[in-house]
Symmetry: D2
Subunit: 341 residues, 4 copies
Amino acid sequence: MINVGIIGVGRIGKVHGESITRYVKGAAVKAVADPFLTPETEQWAKNLGICEVYTDYHKILDDKDIDAVLICSSTDTHSSISLEAIAAGKHIFCEKPIDHDVNKILGVKKALENSRIKYQVGFNRRYDHNFKKTRAAVEAGKIGELNVLKICSRDPGAPPVSYIKVSGGIFLDMTIHDFDMVRFMSGSEVDEVFAYGAVLVDPAIGEAGDIDTAVISMKLKNGALAVIDNCRRASYGYDQRVEAFGSLGQVAISNDTESSAVISDATGVHAEKPLLFFLERYMGAYVDEVSEFIDCIENDKPVSVGIDCGLEPVLIGLAAKRSLEKGVPVKIAEIAAEYGL
Amino acid sequence: MINVGIIGVGRIGKVHGESITRYVKGAAVKAVADPFLTPETEQWAKNLGICEVYTDYHKILDDKDIDAVLICSSTDTHSSISLEAIAAGKHIFCEKPIDHDVNKILGVKKALENSRIKYQVGFNRRYDHNFKKTRAAVEAGKIGELNVLKICSRDPGAPPVSYIKVSGGIFLDMTIHDFDMVRFMSGSEVDEVFAYGAVLVDPAIGEAGDIDTAVISMKLKNGALAVIDNCRRASYGYDQRVEAFGSLGQVAISNDTESSAVISDATGVHAEKPLLFFLERYMGAYVDEVSEFIDCIENDKPVSVGIDCGLEPVLIGLAAKRSLEKGVPVKIAEIAAEYGL
Amino acid sequence: MINVGIIGVGRIGKVHGESITRYVKGAAVKAVADPFLTPETEQWAKNLGICEVYTDYHKILDDKDIDAVLICSSTDTHSSISLEAIAAGKHIFCEKPIDHDVNKILGVKKALENSRIKYQVGFNRRYDHNFKKTRAAVEAGKIGELNVLKICSRDPGAPPVSYIKVSGGIFLDMTIHDFDMVRFMSGSEVDEVFAYGAVLVDPAIGEAGDIDTAVISMKLKNGALAVIDNCRRASYGYDQRVEAFGSLGQVAISNDTESSAVISDATGVHAEKPLLFFLERYMGAYVDEVSEFIDCIENDKPVSVGIDCGLEPVLIGLAAKRSLEKGVPVKIAEIAAEYGL
Amino acid sequence: MINVGIIGVGRIGKVHGESITRYVKGAAVKAVADPFLTPETEQWAKNLGICEVYTDYHKILDDKDIDAVLICSSTDTHSSISLEAIAAGKHIFCEKPIDHDVNKILGVKKALENSRIKYQVGFNRRYDHNFKKTRAAVEAGKIGELNVLKICSRDPGAPPVSYIKVSGGIFLDMTIHDFDMVRFMSGSEVDEVFAYGAVLVDPAIGEAGDIDTAVISMKLKNGALAVIDNCRRASYGYDQRVEAFGSLGQVAISNDTESSAVISDATGVHAEKPLLFFLERYMGAYVDEVSEFIDCIENDKPVSVGIDCGLEPVLIGLAAKRSLEKGVPVKIAEIAAEYGL
């Protein structure tokens, strides 16, 4: 039995707490920590049978009986807590992104060298039943050689502008998942990126220095092309799809719905909207990613979504940002070189 | 070039007139006849370049240059005109049903014996792209041995009660197409039928002695089971589907729509209704059935939808009628025996 | 916290054990009992943290700290254990069917009179996300007045003939779920039933005195018609669909799949088969039905799937059986009258 | 009745010849001309009842009884024949593109000034039932303000390299239709374009100086973004789809198939591939575009796809070409300015 501590029990921390307690075999949540503990959170922990509830996460790091931590705190604390957890010898599951600052990610990477610590990044979409099947089809050669990859990724609605301001910008906050998907689906690194962006959802997002709508095209190192379209608003629900085109065919997924009920009446044929947002769409993926993390610890396997999976999408995000600012395509190597990579 | 005369140019006669003129290779409409000729019909004929327009169909039967006739007059005249056309040596395409009276159909059948006349019955659904593909899949063994056949056949709205009164009842007017489909899809004769009926659309239909909603189950001679559901009302459009289940799988079709456009918005995902009614859904089938008829004449091939295809569904319809009246299943052989078959 | 004991921990008992432990809030499995306890089952219980594992279910009935029992033993023991559990004052969740013998069900019903015991029958499909949405649409008047109900219910493969022999026949073993669905979807009782059956899957099933393929049509008391098609074999997976047609429209559901991935290649467009069988398709429903049961106990609400929901489908099943044997439609009232109902 | 002459009766000229003869009301093909007349073409014309068959198209231009010409000859002759036809006072339907050389298009435009000649360009997709419905939904505000437009346009297989060499390159030969679709769907002009291209289908295409796979992103003047993906190969058939995303929702179309038949078996659920290629997919659109052209002549209406619709996509195509060559985004205004526009 792997004992786990969760650092940060906001929305995503609670998701992991519940899914580990209920669904993840071989793991138990021994403790949670959050600097802003509320009575609701304490009750939530109690209901799940989690007895140790702290404001100071160091109590978790100091607990010899805790094997692994989930870092679910705010992004700006991910890298420093990672370093402390590494020093404490804990295995680490860190929510994405590790940091917006490449140097901080590199700091974590360095600290992991020569350690036996498992370090997994929370790119949950890799564990989604639809995306996984798509990748499996590509990997199995069902569509031959990959030629073009198209990712549609649209949120049901924009977050508050206060969040936008500290988000690192759409490319590091939202598209970062899609950059990870490009890498996952193609099995290739990205060579170059070109981004168009616009403020079409909310002028306040533009005033905050960000965009809310984007079309990002890419050349991959394996020769394929890719394109992502992002929007902070999809009135019809969370739109998360991928299409991969290859020499022998195509594979595509559609969104999940609550049920398959279709009503036909005099006004048309009416089906359900996609599931509302990530908690609904990716609940199964949250369970599976942590289950795999636990399995890697128990059986000393390498994690499949490690520190480099946390690093590369940030480099691509920074390249997309520069592309948007300068109006030209940007090589990932250009960004990497600036960090000595 | 096969010269054709059309007897009866109401709705379906006009459909054939237009489709032959435009789409049927090797055939031309030389003349049309209708006892209730209107100026609109005369103009319609003129627009299509049909010069001979009569009130008396005997002028068509007397024309030595006319090779074939399409009998599109009212049902009660089909058999007597068939007999006259046979006597005149014309090939005949007769709209369904040949008659509601089995003896009259048998009279036509007898008259055709030893003649070289092609006699085709207008069961258009056999030529529909969707139904044809389903039959092809069944015939090719794609679903293995046929076990169960389900036919959904629902009209968008009920005809006037005046029509209902002379229609022969739902089983001979509407279900007759579906009985033909059971024979076509299964490649088997029907052994026994049991019918449930109800008046759920319009009480006036019940007052006219008919039903408007039915579920008809059948045992086929090949051992398979079949079920048809009929309704005179489908608010969402003309619903014409079939599902065939076999030892190895299933084949099913959906309705055609005007376009594949799907709109997703905050209220749901909205697709188009099925095409409104038979003229929209089966336009291609009307062309193809007459094209095959012309081909059978030109190349002296046997027709695939001959006089027996006109007879059998009437026998099944009469069995269904008796089943509904008596509340018990009825063998087709019981009806047939009453006609010495 | 409601303490639960599970009597019978074969396949379905284990399903409930896991789902209560993991997902059902406010309930805990305190004990399980099974006369054929295996080491695997003991290990299974231990893994779930269930400490009390008995061969004799009376130990559960005698435990004052156990509030409710789930009867998941073989069908022939359901009614007698129900009576004992009622005598012991336990709330009861009984797997379907309560019994094949109407008198035994009536015995349980009598024992429940004037008691405050919650008695729920395990008709899980009522809790399936797709069926629930269909019922909700019908109930909300989305399709107007219900006219016709069609249920397609096909198992991926036949059970062993040894099971068939003690199953009570297809109508009481398999169709009973569909009879329940007719009542649930329509909100109406069944008036009369007519059944066609055939042995098309395995002759051994016929030799065992049963059929493996059936088309069952019904008249409902609210005037609507219904039809169920059953087969013990669906090579493409578990086929569980319903279509409801009404005065204003239609509602239909399709089967669930593992993912929405669709592969298009030179041979066609390929999607996934339906989920394999009931454990896959109805896992969510198993959780929800027991959650509702627990909620009814905790908050003293009437159960929605009570003893009468266990009785009526058996009456319909017996009527279907008689219809098949005699070749005529059979009124449910005829069967009921034989039991003084 | 409008008399029409067809100049060039290769594949597309024959399509128009047949569709006018059969389906276009108010028009007749009086003559056809082709410098490479074959006996097959002569027979084809005879079968359609077209008596005048020439090698020299001037005979058509000289015929006072001919009101309109369809220019279906090779692209390099479109503009010069257009000029001659304008001089002869004929209304003109010209296949796309008018020319690859902007100056030649401008020459035609100049010649049309102050004339009453109808000049329509053959952008058939605007008349496709699916694309039309999508545009109608966008125009009607069903998705609110347009934010992002995605066009997927993939040919089933690459044309011969000999064709590629004179095609003007993928952007002027293939994408030109999609550039037209961007203008049609958005109701906006394009501001800037950025193109990624690759040779992934056939190295010989690369050796011929062209690409076979492209992702082209665009900024539109109305502020929306657009992206097109093109490939000369789609093993699963002709892939022609569009998705439009707006402030209130999304509209999308799927490909047409020959039938809706779906076969489910032990290996999966199998539907049909998209219709093979443009003749199959756009047959209805070919009829409708010429019908509208004839209607514009008969009723003196302005054509909806006029000379500017022929010009703009060429400017965008040239911008895309330059973008690909230089690796930077290119403004359409930059290209236009070079032609004094």
